[in-house]
C-alpha cells in the first residue's frame, strides 16, 4: 500500500511538498520510489539556486533508469539534504522523512493551489496504480 501522510501537497508527477510558513520541504512520494525501484543516485540543486514550479528540480536514478524530479513549488533553495545525496537508498526506505530533498524559501505561497492535497492525491495514486 502506498503511504500518503496527511497535510502534504503533491504533484501529478509524484513529488511532495510540506509547507511551513514561507518555507517548504520537497521530496518524492512513496508511490514514486516504489515505481522507480532501487534508487542509486540523486542530483539536486545547490543552496541559492532559484527553482520554478513544474520545472526539473534534479535527477533521480534507479538501477533501471534515470528520471527527472519536478519542482512542486517555486522558490530559492535554502538547504540540500546531503545525507540523501550520499545515501540515495533513503528515498526507498524513508521517502517522507529522512529522504527530504531540499528546503526552499517560497516565492509564491499561493502556488499550493496548483497541487493536490493528501486526500486528492490518495485518489490520484490509486487511479495511477490501477493501470
Amino acid at each position: 500500500m502506498t503511504e500518503i501522510p496527511a497535510g502534504l501537497y503533491f504533484t501529478k508527477s509524484h513529488e511532495w511538498a510540506k509547507v511551513n510558513g514561507d518555507v517548504a520541504t520537497l521530496g518524492v512520494s512513496d508511490f514514486a520510489q516504489n515505481e522507480l525501484g532501487d534508487i542509486t543516485y540523486l542530483e539536486l540543486p545547490e543552496p541559492g539556486t532559484t527553482i520554478t514550479q513544474g520545472e526539473p528540480l534534479g535527477v533521480i536514478e534507479s538501477v533501471k533508469a534515470a528520471s527527472d524530479i519536478y519542482t512542486a513549488l517555486s522558490g530559492e533553495v535554502l538547504e540540500t539534504n546531503q545525507d540523501v545525496v550520499d545515501s540515495p537508498e533513503l528515498v526507498n526506505s524513508s521517502p517522507y522523512d529522512k529522504a527530504w530533498l531540499v528546503k526552499i524559501r517560497l516565492s509564491d505561497p499561493s502556488e499550493v493551489n496548483n497541487l493536490m492535497d493528501s486526500e486528492k492525491y490518495t485518489t490520484f495514486a490509486a487511479e495511477q496504480s490501477g493501470h
Partner: protein, 370 residues
Amino acid sequence: MPEPKQTPLAARHEELGGRMVDFAGWYMPVQFTGIIDEHNTVRTKAGLFDLGHMGQVDVRGKDALAFLQYVTTNDVSTLNPGQAQYAMLLLPTGCPIDDIIVYRRPAGDGFFVVVNASNAERDIAWMQQKAAERSDFEVSVEDVSPVTGMFAIQGPLAEAILQRITEADLSQVEYFSAIETTVDQVPCMVARTGYTGEDGFEVYCPIEQVQTLWDKVLEVGQADGLRPIGLGARDTLRLEAKMALYGNELSEEITPLEVGLSWAVKLDKGDFIGRDALVKQKTEGITRRLVGFKMVERGGVPRSHYDVQVDGKTVGFVTSGTSSPTLGQNIGLALIDKSYAGVGKPLQIMIRGKAVGAEQIRTPFYKRAE
C-alpha cells in the same frame, strides 16, 4: 500496440507480487522484491527465472548440421550429442540479427536452437527462408516455441535444489551440456547454461507442464531462499558477467569481432552467412573494441547509448551500464576507438551533457569463485 503475449506463468508472477511490464511484446515481471535484492539472491542463494518469452527452434533432417554451419557463426560439427554452444546468426554484412544457443539434442536426433524473445519471429523466418533458398539442404526448421516451456534456476544453490526433483545426477552435467531426464516426473531437457555468471540450469519442458514445475521448484527451494527473479536483475547479473545483450553489445551496426566474440566465430570452418564481411574486416583491421569501465566521479549512472569522450573528443558510446549491486559501483561496457582502449586508461562518459570521469577496468566485472 497489440496486447503483449503472456507466458503460462504470467498469473503466477502477479500472485508473487511481480511488477509486470511489456518486454519485447511479452507481459513479463521486471522485478518482484527489488532488483538489488533479487540480484543478491542469485549471487548468494538461487533464483528462478521465467524464460517463456524466448524462442525455440527444432532443426532436423539429413543436412541439419550443414545448414546450421551455414547460418550460424560457431562450428556446429564440434558438438557431441548433449553439447551446446553460443553462436550468432549474421547478416551478409557480418553483423548479427541475434545471438543464440545451439544444442545438439542429447539423443543425437537433430538440433535445438534457442533465440531471444525480441528477435524470435525474425530469426525463425530468416532460418526458414535460408533453408528454402538452399534447396540442396534437406532440413526442416520448425518453430517449437508454442509447445516449449522454459525456465532457469541460477545461483550457488541451484544444483542442490533442482537435484531434489530431478531423476538424473546433475553433478554429471558439464557446463554448456544438456541431458534428457525427468523433473518432478515430467520429461525435460536440462542444460547447465545461463545468463547470470552463476552456476545453474535452463530447463525445457512441455509448455503445459511449466506452471506445475515452476511451483514445484519454488516449493522445494523455498527453505534455501530460492526466489523468483525479474528481468531487471537478469540484466544486472548478465552485465556484471559481461554477457552480451542483443540491442546493446550486439546490433546490425556492430560485428562480433568488435565486441570480443571472435571465440564464437569460426572463420575457418567453411562458408557461412556473414563470413566474407568478417574476413574482410579482420584483414583491414578492427578499429573498435568493447571495454569495461567504472565511474570514478560522481555524476550518475552510465546508460546505453551515452557518448564516450576522451579529452573532449567523442571516441565511442556506452553499450550497457548500471549500478552494479555486487561491486557497489557504477559500471558499464563501451564500444570505443581501439586506440583509446586499455585497462587503467581514462574515459569520460557524457551524462546529461556533463563529462563524468571513468576508468577502464578488467572484465568480467564479476567472476564467481570456482
